[in-house]
């Protein structure tokens, strides 16, 4: 029998993997993919709460999260392309112009 806790633990594992990926990788695109992974982990917990609490609102929120993720991916990738045009790299250690 698969319970709510199973799904929430799976969601926690995926979220943690996303956080670790953001911290250990230097490639901006892979960091972006890890952010998408974290969003998906949260979506999974929304849907499992909606299923086990007999509610529909979790699924509605997943719908809106996906829309925001699509907008965010488009704008973020455009920013990465713009940075790459200026600095010829996507390594985030080289993007330190605002650090003093």
């Amino acid at each position: 029998m698969v319970t709510l806790t199973h799904y929430l633990v799976l969601s926690a594992i995926l979220f943690t993997l996303g956080v670790v990926g953001v911290m250990i990788r230097r490639n901006a695109i892979i960091i972006f993919m890890c952010i998408e992974l974290m969003l998906n982990a949260v979506n999974l917990s929304f849907v499992s709460f909606a299923h086990f609490l007999n509610s529909m609102h979790g699924q509605m929120f997943v719908f809106f999260t996906m829309t925001v993720a699509a907008a965010e991916a488009a704008v973020g990738l455009a920013i990465i392309v713009a940075i790459f045009r200026n600095k010829e790299t996507v390594n985030i250690d080289d993007m330190n112009i605002m650090k003093w």
Binding site: V2, V19, I29, M33, L53, A74, V90, N91
Partner: protein, 169 residues
């Protein structure tokens, strides 16, 4: 049967996520992320959220990941980019922090805060009307204002991308 499917899909998604983090080649990372997204879509079907599962595959695994692969191809990244890693000492503390974060989340899960009120949309009720029809009904009644705001968000994002992608920034 359902439990087996859950465990298989959980193992696939976690394994693909681990490969996504530790893979050197960005293209392989993107393909592993697609694998994770599709296994999560199967979990959505197990949770009787068929519409969300379809949208997951169409929007995430289809549109967003194609955008990622397109940008990777456009930038022509090569693998040697990550070899000059100046923050090598950051890896082990990051993994330890990740394990601590996971334990914290598990502690919260063990507490009793997660008891919610049972809603009216039971499984049989959803199956008699249909998941997609219910989502459509809610989208145009209770969630009408967020729905309209979402369209404005997408519009603003499209304008922003066009401005950011111009040759002279």
């Amino acid at each position: 049967m359902e439990a087996y499917l859950f465990y298989i899909m959980a193992a696939v998604s976690v394994g693909a996520a681990v490969y996504l983090i530790f893979e050197k080649n960005p293209v392989h990372s993107a393909l592993y992320l697609i694998m994770t997204l599709i296994s999560i879509a199967v979990l959505y079907i197990l949770l009787e959220a068929q519409f969300i599962a379809a949208v997951q595959i169409i929007v995430y695994a289809g549109a967003i990941m194609v955008l990622f692969l397109f940008v990777i191809m456009l930038l022509n990244l090569n693998v040697r980019e990550e070899i000059k890693d100046v923050l090598l000492f950051q890896k082990i503390p990051a993994i330890i922090m990740g394990i601590l974060l996971f334990l914290t989340i598990c502690l919260i899960l063990k507490s009793r805060f997660l008891q919610g009120k049972q809603g009216e949309y039971t499984s049989t009720y959803i199956n008699t009307i249909g998941n997609t029809k219910l989502i459509g009904n809610l989208l145009f009644t209770d969630y009408l204002l967020p729905f309209e705001l979402t369209s404005i968000l997408l519009f603003v994002a499209a304008i922003g991308v066009i401005i950011l992608a111009k040759r002279k920034l």
